[in-house]
Symmetry: C2
Subunit: 338 residues, 2 copies
Amino acid sequence: MDKIRIAVDAMGGDFAPESEIRGSIEAALEKSKEIEVILVGKEEVLKNKITGLNLSVPENFSIVNAKDVIAMDESPSDSLRNKPESSLSVSISLQKENKADASISAGNTGANMAHSTFKLGRLKGIGRPTIGTILPSANKISLVIDAGASVDCKPRHLLEFAVMGSIYMNTMFKVENPRVGLLSIGEEKSKGNELTFQAFELLEKSSLNFVGNVEGGDILRGNADIFVCDGFIGNIILKFAESILDLLKYKFKAYSELGLIKKLKTGIIKGVMKESLSDFDYQNYGGVPLLGVNGVSLIGHGKSSSLAIKNMIFKAEEMVRKEVNKKIETEISKYLEK
Amino acid sequence: MDKIRIAVDAMGGDFAPESEIRGSIEAALEKSKEIEVILVGKEEVLKNKITGLNLSVPENFSIVNAKDVIAMDESPSDSLRNKPESSLSVSISLQKENKADASISAGNTGANMAHSTFKLGRLKGIGRPTIGTILPSANKISLVIDAGASVDCKPRHLLEFAVMGSIYMNTMFKVENPRVGLLSIGEEKSKGNELTFQAFELLEKSSLNFVGNVEGGDILRGNADIFVCDGFIGNIILKFAESILDLLKYKFKAYSELGLIKKLKTGIIKGVMKESLSDFDYQNYGGVPLLGVNGVSLIGHGKSSSLAIKNMIFKAEEMVRKEVNKKIETEISKYLEK
């Protein structure tokens, strides 16, 4: 396969454009034969910054101008209407024009989903694109899908999430025959709500490795590889999980203030926590793909460092090379409504 | 007020009837002037056990016979149909017959909710009874309501949960003017799903201390006192939260196996964790009431110890004395559909 061309939104993210510039140049240098990196943003600003940072630019690196920037708190629909020349929008359009194979952004998540879905369109057979989130588990990792791209889902959408999640876990994380669980409020088939009752039927008939209903406690225990749910629930779980470390820090701080020995003990704990709980840190998993769109679009954490940007670029390359989208279309075609 | 009469299901729970017997007798002894405890179950079995345990029985303690037992995994609807003379069913019926003011059980949660709702009926103005769950937070505690009693809720039900949760937190936990948050996927009013959009309108118009949408990460951070949601979501969060300690133990164990110093460090951590994270232990909060039924019915953890049973009895007494149900009826009457 030729070089994979990755468009990088230079203006999104809390540390833009420096993280994006450094990450892009490092990625281009490290994989000079495998990828081409196209940095998208205000050309003047980017060029001055590169000079200011005293960086030299490799051959497989280029800049494409985009005059607008979408703010982190801007409404996705407003940004679609009003900012066709934003760095995010132009990055994604490059795929449409066959000038890039993938795009990544650490900017406004909602805007990224909206622009990607609108511009790239959906894969054949997919009604709702989705993002999954990786959580740590006793069995290594769990994928909760959908994690907030899609709410008020129909049963069919949950089947689509299960298919996309299975292919993603198998292709990108090498999980063999991933176990698909339907997130519910009891293991028995009779426990759940209207949505899960109907989704259960679809999943049971599918050729996926469906293990039945799973509960909230099964995610961290790793009793399935994929936890399928409506994005309203997935997002609440994701945000809840991200807040656990905050509470632990608070509790340990309160404990350390109870006396000197307790303070010493807490000092030791901090180091251990950092080492052994780093899995809870969203950033370690790099960007997450918006699955189900007709292209490769990765969404990064707002706080992405240059290392995170570099890793996202490599992940985008991998998704293109491994033809994740083709696999999704082939698998979902089995379930097209007649 | 006269003595409060508490019926105790002696046969529910993993450690029944011993926990129930000990807890009931201890409670009766400790509050001989305030309460009467009625232990409900197989009379022969209970009497023999009391003799076997060499316990003497106080005056404000009695036994009522019930010949059946509902198993922990029995279907609630089956138990309603087939076990009218179960210890759970008889305990609740004593309220109906004005022979008890409250009932508690550490047995089958679903059966307890079904029997309580069916036998006691609902308070005026309440469409769906609810259970809340207490989680630890940086602000002391958070109430997530509904935690699994009711799924596929309508907007009106979320308003009811908010009203009942506010009164519960104010009356039983002394939280002044409790802050009510609507659990959603973004702080803005425009973020959420069909259910929350409509519930937002109802809550906004109410006289509750409504603080708007809150996210999953706000629960442990304590950014509201009450987190209102459909029971499908509340139950998944509750189960997820209960599993955090399991994952931490697993992670620390893996870390301790990496070497002697790491092992020593982990040894210290275990003690600190136990002391400072005990809030995550569901049992510490004792039983939770099924709010919205025309009576006082407390649901205990299956693993309830005799101490937990005793605390549940005291909590039931408190709920009766503080007239929680009267407060709910008065408040909800403001929102009756015209």
